[in-house]
Amino acid sequence: MIRFIARRLLLVVPVLAGLVVLLFLWVRALPGDPARALLGQRATPAGIEAVNELYGFDEPLLVQFGIYVRQVLTGDLGSSGYTGEPVVASFVSRFPATVELTLAALVFAVGLGIPLGYLAARRAGSWLDGLTVGGSLLGVVVPVFFLAYLLKLVFAQWLGWLPTDGRQDVRIDATHVTDFYVLDGLLTREWDAALDALVHLVLPGLALGTIPLAIVVRITRASVLEVLGEDFVRTAESKGLAASVVRRRHVLRNALLPVVTTIGLQTGLLLSGAVLTESVFAINGIGSYLFTAISQLDYAVLQGYILFIALVYALVNLTVDVLYGVIDPRVRVS
């Protein structure tokens, strides 16, 4: 197992190296002049020239690439051309917000998706099944920002049950240790701060989790249906095993394999930053920051963040592969 993990980790290195080259070229192929983006309407020809010189945008590509590779190798990654905030520090301070949001969305999607999908499959053709299938179709097609505004309108504005946005009430004087606000509240025993952070996660979690929920429901339903028709299920049943044992040990366990793959893929996607959800709910995660960086042509931030995201994605996938072995002894790696 350890060798398997080590081998997979080693494989990530060439992928990242290739990505470094691609990112460098991609960022520079984006339309627009970074110096003008930086200076906005105040750009003058002299100003643009000065900025180009300062940030090395006027150097030959190879020289720029050399500087960038040196930064990557030293783990530095440069800093934002706008705010001078170092890329690594900014990622570290913003990533927890994205992770919290991702977890909230996942809890919602998985916690509700697997039972719903399972029930729908068990009662295929019933009204519950119809509702679930129809609902999940709706969940996939409804635009995230629309859903987000709608949730805010109903639950924050009309009913006043939940906060509109942010990660924590600004008037709360909470201590932040890890920048995972819920966790911080628990660690410092500021229970109301933790609760407040949790409450702030509900609406964005629902908005972001809806599409994954719909996907998990559909995959679970299809997978359970398929397994229910398998010979080994019939064998188990005819052996006289209790229905609940068959369901738990034979049906669910086998049906979960494709679901885990799906969840893994969704987690990777969610962690790469939910641009819309983060902006609508004013959550300063990596998605909203990345979005700003694109419009500002902030090269260092773009390069650094996407590299980080790729790394996270690779790690999530590795975790999924390991989990696979836990669920299915047949694919247990030696």
Partner: protein, 547 residues
Amino acid sequence: MVGAAALAVAGSGCAASEREPEGGGSGGGEGGGTFVFAASSDPVMLDPAFGSDGETFRVARQIFEGLVGTVPGTADPAPLLATEWTTSEDGLSHTFTLQEGVSFHDDTPFDAEAVCANFDRWYAWEGVNQSPNLSYYYGNLFRGFASSDDPALEGGIYGGCTADEELQATVTLTQPFAGFIPSLSLPAFSMQSPTALEEFDADGTEGSEDDPRFSAYATENPTGTGPFRFESWERGQQVTLTRNDDYWGEAASVDEVIIRTIPDGNARLQALQSGDIDGYDLVSPGDVEGLEAEGFTIADRAPFNILYLGFNQAVPELQDVRVRQAIAHAIDRDALISQSLPEGTTPATQFMPDLVVGYNDQVTQYPYDPDRARALLAEAGVPDLSVTFNYPTGVSRPYMPTPEDTFLALQSQLQAVGITVNPQQDAWTDYLDRINGTPDHGIHLLGWTGDYNDPDNFVGTFFGTAGPEWGFDNPELFSALTQARGLPTPEEQEPAYAAVNEQIAQFVPGVPLASPVPSLAFSPRVEGYEPSPVQDEVWNTITLAEE
């Protein structure tokens, strides 16, 4: 402006947490409270000398003060840290008498030495600090530094500063600069504590040449004389300020100010409606009516901006002044305003708003007259003129809240006189790239918001030199602008710029359209917010009513 303050906000009351902050502090009760304002982005950093954007300045205005402020509701200079000033006959020497009994938040006394330390600091900037994305205002207005790798930035117009007495400082310039006094109202020229500047290495913009990072002063320790002290900054989230109880002027009523970053416009609106914030800026014109109906207060700034339709004379047809006049006559400003700009917007007659020195009441105008427009086009031999119309999408500027709507309104007006309009849209940065960097455009929408009362900041910025935006070479206009800029006092500039405005009107390089009113929105509990045309809004005037 007015808002039906009688009605309370229905169904507000954020469920989460009315918890009292721990660790002592905020007493609650009479006055006091926390004012929460939503900004559209983070400040870039906290040292306004390196700032040039609105959100950086919004925070800086609460912490810092300059020698000169503004008369409320105008862009005219008013005493602030300097109680009075005199300018020598030749316009080169400015003597400031300083406010007594002022100290910085770190208890460093504010005196003539501190004034000179600030002026000398700007002048002494080297290397990275001279870059226009850092020291935009100083570099631009004082036009140079003590020494520079760039010969064009060598020297500049700063001559030196002397502390004549404890509370009297004289700043000398090497060339007259009529905008000197009004420009000192910019937060970029705020007075900062010399002790803190040194202690936290304010000018030590670190990092390599290619990779500037701001100092500990600019990110964690801004120290001024203003009514609020800096408390904390959580990047991407909020800046927290607390009341300065030792403020020399009228101390703030609120205990604490929190400036949250909410980039999405709709999210700001919803946050206000649900009571999570007390106010926000740049209210979308479409939301104003609804907010007023719900009992929120709308505060309008006197417009200090201009929206115009520019002509690119690299396009052969537009080189004919009759064609340019024809387009001007084709435009119905009143219809344009009612269709696409906020209520209260004033139509423009020239390339500056009426608050600016040199505004000309008698300037030649091209009133809406479609018949005249058609006749002029026929006379110019292009009765079926076809022209590219450039406009930006997905962007909202104070002078141009909804470019798409403005385009649609103008398009139908131009079509009505027989002009074929070929629309060409770009995202904002690409748009600026195209208009300011290439000759590849036709007629276009653009505008400007002024920083302080300086006519050169408007017409000089637009028409000072030949450039790709306008595509013309008009030496007479260029030299008139250069001359006007060099006049030593605003009084002398007034007639010179009035003449320049007439010269521009005759030349018709574009059509000044309107000065849209920028609006802020507040919860009914906020009282005493004083909107300023140049956003010189300091929150010690605010009180929060009991809820």
